[in-house]
């Protein structure tokens, strides 16, 4: 508020006062600081590097990006204090929510940005693709993800989704020399636009049924509504579920995911598995659990249960038959999406909390795993098949060990974060009475464990092929690998602080089941 009011005082003679009937919306700049830092970081980076051009050293863009992400993460700390003191607030005329949920999601997005910036710093020179636009798009899409996660209005949510998605389409297609990258970009774009239209139609129907796009108003409307079988509202729910189902890569709306993950530049695949999934799941949780949860959970829970079961089963079984490791990880991300859907399905505080924890854990696992694929792929990313991982342990024992830890974590082995993440979501689903979905989830975990162990066995028990080019682990990638393993193990052994934090984050947001 201070910015505009100082300006107003200085220019009082020149500027017209707003008409008496018009209430100037108060914009709490401090409250949206993390998002502002990411967005302004993106715009300023674009301006600075385009004006200075070649005079900008090559390290500038990645350092800038990481600094912006860290700054945005630090800006969360005072806001968290404010949230702890005063509880959830809604800012900018009811459009943006300042609550634990959005703050937690912001931190996860910032972590994903740090990882992708570290990986891109080595990847882009290797592929001769260096240009600062990559980092601009990363920051922009991060801002979109944060917008989605903190949206208190369906239209803000949609705009955030589009900022996130459009930037992701471009990054997917931005590898100039790989045809697969551009193909993946086109597929992602067409199906992404298709799903956006579905989501938007769902928003329109919801608006028609409830008279508002504001989540709080929708929640209040539903709490007072006596009509339980409103066709318009059910249609809106279904369309929104389809739209967001596409974005999270849930079966049967998953067809784009393997192609896009395989075709996209590998660091970007890791980023999509982390930040893009987080944005979509945050939207799903905010809309379905928070706004539609109290009054309408009976209506959408069966649909989400079907999505969860299909994602779990298809993700696990399709991954086994793959020979391309990047594609395996893509299918495993569909399996993971099924697990996170368990947290959504629970429609409880425990479920939301476990979904947030899972998203944080998966951000670490995905960033690290795709970092390994980046390194093993070598220049041009031609070496992605399982064959190329033969004997990795004898050539690069450290890299093989890191990959093993990350894969075991994805499989859900105790002492890693993957185990706890799976445990939390399954517990939350059982508590909400979805025992059978939880059983399916645990069975598919066994199936996908087979796939992860197959990669591990290939690395350790097969002979390295002769004449493969040397494998180099650049410094920044090494840092990213180290961070991901430390994160996976630390969160797996001492989960207390973070899971408590997730617990506090959602405690006041999710209304308990009646």
């Amino acid at each position: 508020m201070s910015g505009p009011s100082v300006l107003a005082a200085a220019l009082q003679d020149v500027l017209i006062e707003p008409a008496p009937g018009f209430e100037v919306p108060s914009i709490d700049w401090a409250g949206i600081a993390p998002n502002l830092i990411l967005m302004l970081g993106s715009i300023l980076l674009l301006t600075v590097v385009s004006v200075l051009k070649r005079r900008v050293p090559s390290w500038f863009a990645p350092v800038w990006t990481i600094s912006a992400a860290v700054a945005a993460g630090c800006a969360v700390v005072p806001l968290w204090q404010r949230f702890a003191d005063t509880g959830p607030e809604t800012l900018v005329g009811g459009a943006v929510g300042l609550d634990g949920f959005s703050l937690f999601a912001t931190v996860v997005v910032c972590i994903a940005v740090v990882f992708v910036a570290l990986l891109l710093a080595d990847y882009l020179p290797r592929e001769s693709l260096e240009s600062p636009e990559w980092y601009v798009l990363v920051l922009l899409s991060a801002s979109g993800a944060v917008t989605m996660a903190s949206a208190d209005d369906l239209i803000v949510l949609f705009v955030g989704l589009e900022i996130l998605s459009v930037a992701a389409y471009v990054m997917t297609a931005m590898h100039r020399r790989r045809v697969t990258s551009q193909e993946a970009g086109l597929k992602y774009f067409v199906l992404g636009a298709f799903s956006s239209a579905f989501l938007l139609y769902g928003i329109a129907l919801t608006y028609g049924a409830t008279g508002s796009t504001n989540l709080a108003e929708i929640q209040a409307f539903l709490a007072g509504d006596v009509v339980t079988q409103n066709a318009l509202l059910l249609g809106g729910l279904a369309f929104m579920l389809v739209g967001l189902g596409f974005k999270v890569g849930a079966v049967p709306f998953h067809s784009w995911a393997p192609d896009v993950y395989q075709g996209a530049p590998t660091p970007i695949s890791g980023y999509m598995a982390g930040a893009v999934k987080l944005g979509a799941f945050a939207a799903l949780l905010r809309v379905f659990v928070v706004a539609f949860g109290p009054a309408y959970r009976q209506e959408w829970q069966p649909l989400v249960a079907v999505l969860a079961v299909l994602s779990l089963v298809v993700g696990a079984f399709a991954a086994i038959s793959q020979t391309n490791v990047k594609r395996m990880l893509a299918y495993s991300s569909i399996n993971h999406a099924g697990f996170i859907l368990l947290g959504v399905l629970a429609a409880s505080a425990a479920g939301t909390e476990s979904a947030l924890f899972y998203l944080l854990a998966y951000t670490f696992m995905a960033a690290g795993s795709f970092a390994v694929v980046t390194v093993v792929g070598r220049t041009g990313e031609h070496r992605q098949s399982l064959e190329d991982y033969r004997g990795l342990a004898s050539v690069r024992p450290g890299l093989a060990l890191v990959f093993t830890v990350l894969l075991l974590s994805q499989a859900g082995v105790p002492l890693t974060v993957g185990f706890l993440a799976k445990l939390y979501v399954v517990t939350a689903a059982v508590e909400s009475g979805f025992d059978w979905v939880a059983v399916v989830a645990m069975l598919t975990a066994v199936v996908s464990a087979f796939m992860y162990l197959r990669i591990v066995a290939t690395m350790y028990f097969a002979d390295a092929p002769e004449g493969a080019p040397a494998l180099r682990i650049p410094a920044a990638t090494g840092v990213a690998l180290g961070l991901s393993v430390v994160g996976v193990l630390l969160l797996g052994i001492v989960p207390g602080p973070v899971s408590d934090w997730a617990n506090e984050a959602v405690a006041q947001l999710v209304v308990a089941a009646p």
Binding site: I155, F158, V159, E162, V166, Y169, V170, A173, R176, V179, T180, Q182, E183, A184, G185, L186, K187, F189, V190, A193, F194, S196, A197, F198, L200, Y201, I203, A204, L205, Y207, G208, G211, S212, T213, P258, D259, Q262, G263, Q322, N324, R327
Partner: protein, 102 residues
């Protein structure tokens, strides 16, 4: 006198949306697929305006601005991707884009 009620606009919008959705699934030319996406988004715009009128709420109309701008941004990016692919091959056809499968 016969008048068109608000529900007519909603039905029209639903039909346009369905045409767009089906068109996107059955057509193979990326440019036509983009047009179908536009059709779907504009059907949503019509729905918003009709509901806004029905509810006497100006919010339904302001949404249209955002949808318009987002649609334009999407199409600009999509066309850029198509041009990037077209520079490699003579004709852009979604069936030709098939290196990725499995």
């Amino acid at each position: 006198m016969f008048t068109f009620g608000d529900s007519w606009y909603l039905v029209l919008a639903a039909i346009i949306f369905a045409i767009g959705a089906v068109g996107l699934i059955v057509r193979r030319n990326p440019l036509v697929m983009f047009m179908c996406v536009e059709l779907m988004l504009n059907a949503v715009n019509l729905t918003f305006v009709a509901f806004g009128n029905l509810l006497g709420d100006v919010g339904g109309q302001t949404v249209v601005f955002f949808v318009l701008v987002v649609a334009a941004a999407e199409v600009v990016v999509g066309l850029a991707i198509i041009v990037a692919i077209m520079r490699r091959r003579a004709e852009a056809n979604a069936d030709d884009v098939s290196l990725l499968r499995g």
